[in-house]
Amino acid sequence: MKTRTFLLAGLLAALLIAGVASYYASSHPDGLEYVAGKTGFLDSADEEPVSTDSPFADYETSGVDNARLGGGLAGVAGVLLTLVIGGGLFRVLRRREEPTTVDAG
């Protein structure tokens, strides 16, 4: 499989997982939240945490009432934001090859 094909297939998988499959994820509290509740320190979380006023807070999309659509949009936005920030960082950090090298991918 060519590198470009592989990367696009991987990105498509990530977008489908975050944008579509995430709707079917368990809504039970995760391990830490559950343990915090059971052992009695869940209340020590700040009631009003520091907010960035992001439109995608809590994996919802402000202005979109449909849970499936809002959650999917937030997931897709998160994947793309991670890709852009991570991809940009790793592009800057990478060792550059000789300019004569032709990218076959």
Partner: protein, 229 residues
């Protein structure tokens, strides 16, 4: 395992912030050796994939769920330093845009999930790979075991921080038993996902898996595949 604002006192949050900043700082330098024109786009994809994977909470019983942490997975796929950076970017995006994990707890979350997750996962991966047969099929197995150990270890590290700077007055032993117990179960899910994903990448592009370098493949690469020099 995203820690919200308020679980830890200010000195502990500042201390983990310093640990996280130092760890990320070293990783930014060390990752250069792992990244080239071929692996840099792969690392970006791995970060995006870990973000997606963390959205899938799977039930582990008694009304509890767990989700992929991804440190071991990222470390095996793109190297431990780059892997730690992948998870750090995911945690940054989650804290900034998804209100998942407190902003004042970002250092704590990077320390637990990016640094402990990636390096414990990768360390166990290397140890297991050293005793398994030198072939590609061993890589997903070793990756899964690294993932399995990384989750309860991060849970134990959380409890250590809780004992030092937890704002609630709860017995440490009680927290330790519950955290490690539940995260051992979640670790099984982490192991399964990590093993399957590493296996899938090895099947299509073994040359793109950092942890598979130096492991002999069972077939010669195809002419259409890029082979590392």
């Amino acid at each position: 395992m995203h820690v919200p604002d308020g679980f830890f006192d200010a000195p502990t949050s500042v201390a983990t912030g310093v640990v996280a900043a130092a760890g990320v700082g070293v990783a930014l330098r060390k990752a250069r050796a792992e990244l080239d024109d071929r692996t840099a786009p792969m690392a970006g994809l791995v970060a995006a994939f870990v973000f997606a994977g963390q959205m899938i909470n799977f039930p582990v019983g008694a009304g509890t769920s767990g989700h992929l942490l991804g440190g071991a997975l990222a470390a095996v796929l793109v190297g431990p330093w780059t892997g730690a950076l992948c998870v750090s970017v995911v945690l940054l995006v989650q804290a900034l845009f998804m209100a998942d994990g407190g902003l004042t707890a970002l250092g704590t979350n990077i320390t637990l999930m990016a640094l402990v997750g990636a390096f414990v996962g990768y360390g166990v991966f290397r140890l297991v790979l050293a005793v398994l047969p030198k072939r590609l099929g061993s890589v997903p197995v070793a990756a899964a075991l690294g993932a399995l150990v990384s989750v309860p270890t991060a849970a134990a590290a959380f409890t250590l921080l809780f004992a030092i700077g937890g704002t609630a007055d709860v017995a440490t032993g009680k927290v330790l038993a519950a955290m490690v117990g539940w995260h051992l179960v979640i670790g099984i899910g982490e192991a399964v996902i990590t093993g399957l994903v590493v296996s899938a990448v090895i099947t299509s592009r073994p040359d793109l898996v950092h942890g598979a370098r130096g492991v002999r493949g069972r077939r010669a690469p195809l002419l259409t595949e890029e082979v590392p020099a």
